[in-house]
């Protein structure tokens, strides 16, 4: 994907942070830990880099410190470059500046103008899917599209995807509009927050939106000016995860215990890069019993673990039992404790003999660095 900039914006994700309980108190959604050793945004950036994109700009939102700590100098993605590389754009804090995706894009016109690339791939990092960007890009170029929206056909009998964006298309599969799924249909075309645009088209839309003052997010602007452009669509046929609340997030993690899903996310698009931690291998003691779990490095497992995602450096004590849970980095379950349907944030711990049980439709969350003890 030569000649293409990678842009990561939050769209309207910032409004959803409250859906994640204490997990997003100090981090944006895209920084949520995922899959044992990653953050959500790792998948987005890695997918871009693996498809040959060498300039990536991230519109960070206000909670910038965790982002800077993680993305930092861009080394894990080989984006620590002299020319192009990784650009982080926190919001401007002038009293005069407007807020929202459009205003943020507008505030970085220089970045777009200085880049030689003529096309843009824009992704919202709360959608996880191993999209074959090369194929989508080839189609975008071949059809000389002004923009190509990427969607996934979703059968949703349970209304799991109510309020997701939906592409409305005519009988010939031609793009008509972007609506919102209210669950009235069994199947709908879910817009998965990935769009290819000509750079000049993006800048035109952004400038118009600023002039007209009607649109806060790019999606709104696309709807407003859709008749002026040649808009195509590309269907993604693989597995997609949408992370917009705690339940989604919990399920998406545990879905990785399915071999097909983890194969697709971890391998099909090339390696997923992340900040390395230099943990040694994980040690399983003579008494450990581990079933159907994904376990990262640096752990010491002496208890029983079932259906779990275990992040780096976790300790599980003797006779402890952990089920259907997500144990983030450096969390500790002490001896004889029982933990079920729970998300333990980084550095949290469950005291000896304590019993914690959440519900699978509303997992219990142990806040970062919180140490729970028996009364």
């Amino acid at each position: 994907m030569e000649n293409c900039l990678g842009i990561i914006t939050m769209g309207s994700m910032d409004k959803q942070e409250s859906n994640f309980g204490p997990l997003c108190k100090k981090r944006p959604i895209y920084m949520l830990p995922f899959g044992g050793r990653y953050r959500l945004i790792d998948f987005t950036i890695s997918n871009m880099v693996n498809h040959g994109i060498s300039t990536v700009a991230v519109y960070t939102g206000d909670k910038i410190r965790s982002t800077m700590d993680h993305l930092g100098n861009g080394k894990p993605w080989d984006l620590n470059r002299r020319f192009n590389g990784l650009f982080l754009y926190p919001p401007l804090h002038n009293s005069s500046s407007r807020k929202g995706e459009i205003a943020e894009l507008y505030s970085t016109l220089d970045f777009f103008n200085n880049a030689k690339d003529e096309n843009v791939l824009l992704i919202h990092p709360n959608y996880l899917g191993s999209v074959n960007l090369k194929e989508a890009y080839a189609e975008f170029i071949e059809k000389d599209s002004d923009m190509t929206l990427i969607y996934k056909k979703k059968v949703d009998p349970w209304g799991q995807y109510v309020n997701c964006d939906k592409l409305i298309m005519d009988k010939n599969n031609k793009f008509k509009n972007i609506g919102i799924n209210l669950g009235t249909e069994q199947e709908f075309n879910m817009y998965i927050g990935m769009i290819l645009l000509k750079k000049k088209v993006l800048l035109e839309i952004v400038k118009k939106a600023i002039e007209d003052g009607e649109s806060t997010y790019l999606k709104e602007a696309i709807i407003a000016y859709k008749h002026e452009y040649k808009i195509n669509t590309y269907e993604f046929k693989g597995h997609i995860e949408v992370i917009n609340d705690l339940k989604n997030f919990y399920d998406a993690n545990l879905n990785l215990l399915s071999k097909e899903i983890s194969q697709e996310l971890f391998f099909s698009g090339g390696p997923v890069f992340t900040k390395t931690k230099d943990e040694p291998s994980t040690f399983y003691s003579e008494d450990s019993q581990v079933y159907n779990s994904l376990v990262a490095n640096g752990c010491i497992i002496e208890g029983t673990v079932e259906n779990c995602i275990v992040f780096r450096g976790v300790k599980i004590g003797k006779n402890a039992i952990v089920k259907n849970s997500i144990l983030m980095q450096k969390s500790v379950v002490h001896d004889n404790a029982i933990v079920v349907n729970t998300i333990m944030d980084k550095y949290s711990s469950i005291g000896e003999g304590l019993r914690i049980t959440g519900n699978s439709s509303m997992p219990y969350v142990v806040e970062k660095s919180k140490e729970l003890r028996k009364d």
Binding site: K259, P280, S281, F283, Y284, V290, N292
Partner: protein, 378 residues
């Protein structure tokens, strides 16, 4: 402007021929160890953790994988614009090219590199050993004694002493005699091949040694005895802790097994002295419903559906349901098929152990080296 500048010179050209199949394609320092490392990672990480900012790596034998592993030194934080890590292979000049003919000669040929850096001390290291050492302690000792050379020594079992270079000292640790592989050792303090030199002195003796046609240009055999002869101030420093030269197949297997020993002295989980290595960017490992893993180290990217006991696994290994692995070291990208059983083995990279194969018996005392062509017994 930083004081007490130490430059480390890491000898990484060794062939390690006694490691046989393990060193067929790579130099000994590049041999995988301990689930995710290569042997050289230990010396390199010690240097990083000791805050040594310049390190030269002397390579010669089959350096490709070693060079790929080291890359620009990023894993060890040596990817610096000024200083950092420099790979130093042999080179040519007007009078033609010269291969490194001995440990001292390798340093002699790179005097230009050292002169450019102009260090106060030069620390000679070997890329062949498994240990964790804070070289700053060695430096401190060296400075306090006002020594010309300080040699790091370790207590070895008396019966093994004849295999080592034994250092005889007075009560103040001043060296009085070198005893290379003595039949009747006077003590059991062995040289670890780790030397802290004053650069000015070392430089003189390297030049002197280079002119001696009878020299093998080796530190232990030539340069150090010569300095002692001249009455230079030479001290030993007594290192305490885990140290292993994994020179043979058996010692290689044993050193790996040490890591799953509960009394293991080499604490790999110590976050204040991490061992760094190049990252393979693999996802976590997966243990299935049918897996049974006991007293073992498992690394990233593995999928275990069978039974694993007392073993050290590298990355991206696939163990099918019903397969059994005991007391073994399994290198990356291997597959053990359903119904196969492997005991006391070293399975090399990318090997597939076929359905129904059986290698070794528990406690038969052999070590099996499993390659793509079959296995050999040690």
């Amino acid at each position: 402007m930083v004081e007490n500048k130490v430059v480390a010179m890491l000898l990484a050209g060794g062939q390690g021929s006694r490691l046989k199949a393990l060193t067929r394609k790579i130099a000994k320092p590049a041999v995988p160890f301990g689930g995710k490392y290569r042997i050289i990672d230990f010396a390199l990480s010690n240097a990083t953790n000791s805050r040594i900012s310049d390190i030269g790596i002397l390579t010669q034998y089959k350096p490709f994988q070693l060079n790929t592993h080291i890359g620009i030194g990023q894993a060890w934080d040596y990817d610096r614009n000024v200083g950092g890590l420099r790979v130093l292979p042999p080179f040519t000049s007007e009078d033609g090219g010269r291969w490194y003919t001995g440990t001292a000669n390798a340093i002699f040929e790179n005097i230009d590199y050292l002169d450019e850096l102009n260090p106060q001390y030069v620390l000679i290291l070997s890329g062949d050993h498994i240990y964790k050492m804070d070289y700053r302690q060695l430096l401190k000792e060296h400075q306090e004694k006002g020594a010309d050379v300080t040699i790091s020594v370790i207590e070895v079992p008396w019966e093994e002493a004849p295999r080592f270079g034994i250092i005889n000292t007075d009560q103040d640790n001043k060296i009085v005699e070198f005893d290379e592989k003595p039949k009747n050792p006077k003590n059991n303090m062995a040289s670890m091949g780790i030397y802290m030199f004053n650069w000015v002195e070392l430089r003189k003796y390297l030049i002197k040694d280079s002119k001696n046609p009878n020299s093998e240009h080796d530190f232990g055999k030539n340069v150090l005895p010569d300095m002692l002869n001249d009455g230079k101030k030479m001290y030993s420093w007594n290192f305490k802790g885990y140290w292993k030269d994994v020179g043979t197949i058996r010692s290689y297997w044993e050193a790996n097994m040490d890591l799953i020993d509960p009394d293991n002295e080499l604490n790999m989980y110590d976050k204040d002295w991490r061992i760094y290595t190049r990252n393979r960017n693999l996802p976590p490992h997966y243990l299935s419903r049918s897996s049974k893993v006991r007293n073992s180290l498992i690394n990233e990217g593995c999928t275990v559906k069978g039974e694993v006991r007392n073993s050290v696994f590298f990355s991206d290994i696939y163990i099918e349901k019903g397969a059994k692995i005991n007391n073994s070291v399994v290198l990356s990208d291997s597959i053990v098929e359903a119904g196969a059983e492997v005991n006391n083995a070293i399975i090399l990279e990318g090997v597939t152990v076929k359905k129904g194969d059986k290698i070794g018996e528990e406690g038969d005392g052999n070590i099996y080296v499993v390659t793509k062509k079959g296995f050999t017994i040690e």
